[in-house]
Amino acid sequence: MISLSSVTKLYNEGRPNGVRAVDNVSLDIGADAVTVLKGPSGSGKTTLLSLIGCMARPSAGRVMIDGRMVSGLPESFLTEERRSTFGFVFQRFNLIRGLTVLENVMLPAAPLGPDPQALAEAARDRIAALGLADKADTPVEHLSGGETQRAAIARALINDAPVLIADEPTANLDTDLTHRFLDIVADLRAEGRTVIMTSHDPRIWQSDLVNAVIEMQDGRVTGAFA
């Protein structure tokens, strides 16, 4: 369970170009559910996702994960929280060019010093489960849009994180690939994982898979639908 209480995020605070990206947001996100943050560009969805995923710290308010307050934690603890709790799929997937799919997928676990063979095996299993077995040794810049997305999902899941965070995961995908993504989300939910994503794609937030939709406008939550 993730809980936000009166969370505000200011960028460039006190300067003329200061922005209130998230403004006094309070919400609860249930475990083992699929939650979608929707709203127009600039509404604060991505910033809220960063705050939930411990990638940014709130300027005010509290973020709690499973009853633990994480918003005031120092950087090293936040990293640990990110590593153990969240897997991220970024809007542009943010795979590292020049590395193969396998190397990208192994990357989150690399600094933990695991047995390289066991890690490679686990990564290949993840890649195969997402239908990319034949692309494991291909540099990521040679993948199609859908393949890149699946590689990014495999990377997000390599540390067996219970929560998947995805920022506009279908923004650049066609209808067929969007449905395939939703199939993956269904599998993740079936595995008992929590999925939180942003989207202004109606194919996503109108899907039966989605348990909750949170609507945002100008950094504020303007509606929440179960």
Partner: protein
Amino acid sequence: MTRWWRRQRALADFTLAALARRRVKNIGLVAIYALVVFVVASAMFFSTALKREAGLVLADAPELIVQELRMGRHEMIGADAIGALAGIRGVTRVTGRLWGYFYDSVNGANYTMMVPDDPALAPGPGEAVIGEGIPRARGLAWDTAPLFLSRHSGDLQKFEVTGRLPTGSALVSSDLILLDEADFRAFFDLPEGIYTDIAVSIRNSREIDTIVTKAERLMPSARFVTRDDISRTYEKIFSWREGVMVALAGAALLAFAIFAAEKASGLSAEEAREIGILKAIGWNSSDVIAMKLWEGGLVSAGAFLLGTVTAYLHVFLFSAALFAPMLKGWAVIYPDFALAPQIDALQLTTLFLLTTLPYIAATLVPIWRAASADPDQIMR
């Protein structure tokens, strides 16, 4: 393999891949860095080799040299001084030395001509033993080709070359011509009973100051040069030249460190994004810093190796052709000489610390600043 080692291996693997991804930029960086190392290493190797050569020469030199002065200039000294100096308690041997310089108008080279103190080295009448630079400067067709030298009076004197001096200490032997005493006197038209200077050997080197004081009383117009004086002069000359070179190289190193800091603080958008991604997917600040340290270590080790090996070849194979005029000073006058290759662990360690620490220090702070920010802030 322990977890720590596995972590380091994983970080090193990623670093190598990252370096390969930006290979053009990194090759340029290593090339500039290696050039700086090359300059510092060349100055250091060359100066140390010269000091070593000088040390070898001095090891066999007499403890004290006595030279007559007139109007502050070195003058020939009479044989009567030998007896006077031999009478001082503690002096074991006094020898008159014959040596001088010969300007060879054929090729503009200066040779040192000398009658050896050691009879085993002395050539016979009409013969000469020469340093390895003489045949090269003269363009002699073969090693034992006769040596024709034009005497002060203008006539040519022929010497049969019967031997070559060992190259172990090329600094003094390269331009040296050893002659029989009678030939030397005849060549320079020097009468019997006078010498260039006098070499004095002493039983106990700790008594040298006392002996010099006594000798000064006997020969008030003479100059007394101890082995330590010569050693200190060599040390000062070569250290000064090395100092100038290292100062210049130091300026280059400082400029490079500023450049490195600038590069690290102004991380490219791609590098910053990469750090943000790594942090977002679970790398902590120390992982990123360790990875960047690997990167700095690989870059500086590569540049260090490249610069050091190139400097070694430059100094010991190509006689420091680029910096020789500054470092050798007077020795650039013909004939040329090659230095005996020798470097030690202390030199390499000093060089390594001098060249790699500024780079790593310059890059570490900006990297730490980038690595300790929130991923959202870095990627934004």
